[in-house]
Symmetry: C2
Subunit: 217 residues, 2 copies
């Protein structure tokens, strides 16, 4: 029984890594589509999100089945419950990618943000992609140093998010209302993507170390 349970936990972990890897590809494509006005790539991101949604639903069913059949307690129980929460956050990260891609598609053939903001969004996008890749690696290896890196990356994303508002609200801003709306939403989606990555990293760190960080981000 114990051995079957360990195999099942391993399957949960593998599936989380699989979904996180898809999310990393999704944000990579979404930020490329966004920064380069690539409408075909944007459409692929939007189509691929269905796959992420299906995989998270299927993982949730597996986790609930494990709870029913194996009736885990203590740390084992926390692992399965955490998997459900991580799955929910990965699903939301996929949604944020999709929202970024939708902005790119909506504005095509124009770029979503004016020139003055493009370097900022390029940096935010790169950080989001790095965080997603580190997250997949963290889920695979449970190397908690990656969790620390993800938190540090999130601080940088937050700073860039604030700098977008500084630009948009600054005297030099020449953008119209459409540019302002798009920059506001795009920045929020990039920032939320990063928040979910931190939320997952904290959960993995907690499971790996037992250090309880009791906030629901």
């Amino acid at each position: 029984m114990r051995e079957v349970f360990q195999q099942e936990l391993q399957e949960v972990q593998e599936r989380l890594v699989e979904i996180a890897t898809l999310v990393a590809t999704s944000i990579e494509n979404a930020t490329s589509a966004f920064n380069e006005s690539n409408v075909a790539l944007a459409e692929r991101v939007i189509a691929d999100d269905t796959k992420i949604d299906e995989l998270t639903v299927s993982l949730d069913e597996l986790a609930i089945n494990i709870l029913a059949r194996q009736q885990p307690v203590a740390r084992d129980l926390r692992i399965v419950v955490s998997a459900l929460r991580i799955s929910a956050s990965l699903e939301r990260m996929g949604d944020m990618s999709e929202h970024i891609a939708q902005l790119a598609r909506y504005r095509f053939p124009e770029k979503v943000v004016p020139k003055s903001l493009r370097p900022t969004f390029a940096d935010m996008g790169r950080l989001d992609v790095d965080m997603a890749r580190k997250l997949a690696e963290l889920l695979r290896t449970e190397d908690v140093r990656l969790a620390e890196e993800i938190r540090n990356d999130d601080d940088k994303v937050d700073a860039l998010h604030l700098s977008v508002f500084d630009t948009v609200l600054g005297e030099k801003w020449k953008g119209g209302a459409e540019d302002t709306v798009d920059a506001t939403l795009a920045s929020r989606y990039h920032e939320r993507f990063a928040d979910h990555a931190v939320s997952i990293a904290k959960k993995v760190q907690y499971l790996a170390t037992g250090d309880w960080i009791p906030t629901e981000d």
Copy 2:
């Protein structure tokens, strides 16, 4: 054992109702603070969110303890897992209230949105408050007609959310970048609040009727 379990499930339900009731008060205060530029009320919302966060963490611990001790299966298991998910959504609803209150505090003594948008935000706010109250009632009674009402309310919130963009992107819009940013964020928070209400309503409806609606909104 069964009787203890039923008592514990009842406690979970009561706590969900308690949190949902606090969330309803929170959004009521947040939207009042927002629409009337009441900074004292905004600060109360921000302070009260800690209470909502604490109650959800504590409810999660109870639910995990029930899983460990009672090892429920089938429908009972789904109830406990759903409680964890509902708790997460309620926590996010509290965050959206807090964000709305923060906008009010940040702009004080100015109002957050210009005159032309105030009726729209008043309507969105009223709908969010109604939805939160119906949600607390739905969690208490499991009357699935309330779930349908919540979905209908959400359609209205979505329409108002789109109308905010129509206004901001319309020719008559005289707002500066700050007004545009604030209207965009405020509208997004009102809309996300409503989305979470629908997400919870679907879960309660599923538990009450067994009709699986397999999306993670």
